[in-house]
């Protein structure tokens, strides 16, 4: 559990990581770091991010956000599928020569049987279980090209605190849908996690201390 001094020193931690802290911040943080392994580890992590910043061009990021220029053409998905299908067909033809037609047909039937229908366009509705008193949330998950879109309605979080919304895939890896700030009233947010809806198995929210605030399992698609 992170204690209050850590929280108060976060501004200093960010500034020290970026290399633009003032003398007072340096002194305060140095004294704290000696006794706090958590903040030492965090400083290492943030410094690694800071070291990568000079490689990026923020103007390029702004362009991308405003123009949508960096989206592949909508037909690329079809062409990718076409190329893989062509490869698969070529391999099957080669195999057919080796092992005979019957096996190849069996393989083709298995491939068709594995096809599952797409998620419903109205979305999957979920009420999340609160791990903290007074918090309520529900979500609607929809399948999008970019992954799983989460329309999120939440109330009862701490005003001004930061939260992370996560979706866990069937491989057990968590994928961040984004960060948001708690508000006194209910708020509605739309965020997207970069994994397909059919792979999503859990939706959950953590607070600034990585503590789980809301959690719900998602049923595997039929």
């Amino acid at each position: 559990m992170t204690s209050d001094p850590c929280r108060e020193l976060r501004g200093a931690l960010g500034a020290v990581a970026l290399g633009n802290a003032d003398e007072a911040e340096h002194i305060a943080l140095r004294a704290h770091l000696d006794g706090c392994a958590e903040c030492r580890a965090e400083l290492r992590e943030l410094r690694s991010v800071a070291a990568g910043l000079p490689l990026a061009d923020p103007a390029r990021v702004a362009d991308v956000t405003s123009s949508g220029l960096l989206q592949p053409s909508p037909t690329l998905a079809k062409r990718v599928l076409g190329r893989v299908t062509a490869e698969r067909f070529a391999r099957r033809t080669r195999r057919r020569r080796r092992v005979g037609l019957a096996t190849a047909i069996a393989a083709a039937i298995v491939a068709f049987a594995l096809v599952v229908p797409d998620g419903s366009p109205t979305g999957t509705h979920v009420a999340l279980t609160a791990k903290e008193a007074g918090v309520t949330a529900k979500a609607t998950l929809r399948s999008r090209n970019a992954g799983t879109e989460v329309a999120f309605h939440v109330a009862g979080l701490h005003q001004g605190e930061y939260y992370w919304l996560w979706v866990t895939g069937d491989d057990g890896d968590r994928v961040g849908a984004g960060t948001f700030q708690g508000t006194a009233n209910a708020s509605d947010l739309v965020m997207t996690a970069a994994l397909p809806l059919r792979d999503a198995r859990r939706i959950w929210v953590t607070d600034e201390h990585d503590k789980v605030v809301l959690d719900e399992r998602l049923p595997a698609p039929a």
Binding site: R10, G11, L13, G14, A15, A17, L18, N20, E42, R44, E45, L46, S48, V49, A50, G52, L53, L55, A56, D57, P58, R60, V61, V64, T65, L70, Q71, P72, L76, A77, R79, V80, L81, R83, V84, T85, E87, R88, A111, F112, L114, V115, V116, S143, R144, N145, A146, G147, Y162, W164, D171, D173, V175, G176, T179, A194, L195, P196, R198, D199
Partner: protein
């Protein structure tokens, strides 16, 4: 996971656009970037039985493949001057080691892009524009502590985004 059409569609939906953005960042040519994505999926499908869940994420594996594809396409283009000149207004041609550098730059830009507008603005002002915290705070009419806190959360959120993209501390 790439064994049938739905598998390919799902993997493309999850990772296709970001593979494309990385390829475009490296190659500076939309057509070539789309070719790189198609080639990546073909190679991934061919090697699908070598993909081991336990060793790392699907994304990391796909990025290892697209990196090689980008290097191959860069080499091919380097010996075909006509193609290279077509994109002279975009990015320089990258080969081998450069691909690593572009990969890191692209990861950082993806992470920057995922930040909220407020968090990104705070980081851009105090880091990229080297402006003092108090000046940025005065401009926006918020306390200095608020700007410091936004910068901290910007770095923290970028860290999480970068870890998802396979960020490693030894770069």
């Amino acid at each position: 996971m790439l064994a049938n059409d739905d598998g390919v569609r799902a993997v493309y939906a999850a990772h296709g656009p970001e593979l494309y953005r990385f390829a475009l960042r490296s190659l500076g040519d939309r057509g070539l970037a789309e070719e790189a994505v198609q080639e990546t999926f073909v190679r991934a499908w061919q090697a699908a039985n070598r993909f081991d869940d336990a060793l790392g994420s699907l994304r990391t594996w796909l990025f290892a493949i697209v990196r090689n594809v980008v290097i191959d396409l860069s080499r091919a283009r380097a010996v075909r001057p006509a193609l290279a000149t077509e994109s002279r207004n975009n990015e320089p041609i990258v080969i081998d080691d450069d691909v690593e550098r572009v990969l890191v730059a692209w990861q950082v830009e993806e992470a920057l892009q995922k930040l909220s507008t407020e968090h990104r603005a705070a980081l851009v002002e105090v880091h990229y524009k080297s402006r003092p915290y108090h000046e940025v705070a005065a401009d926006l009419g918020v306390p200095v502590g608020t700007i410091k806190s936004r910068v901290y959360y910007a770095l923290k959120a970028m860290r999480l985004a970068l870890e998802e993209l396979g960020w490693s501390d030894d770069v």
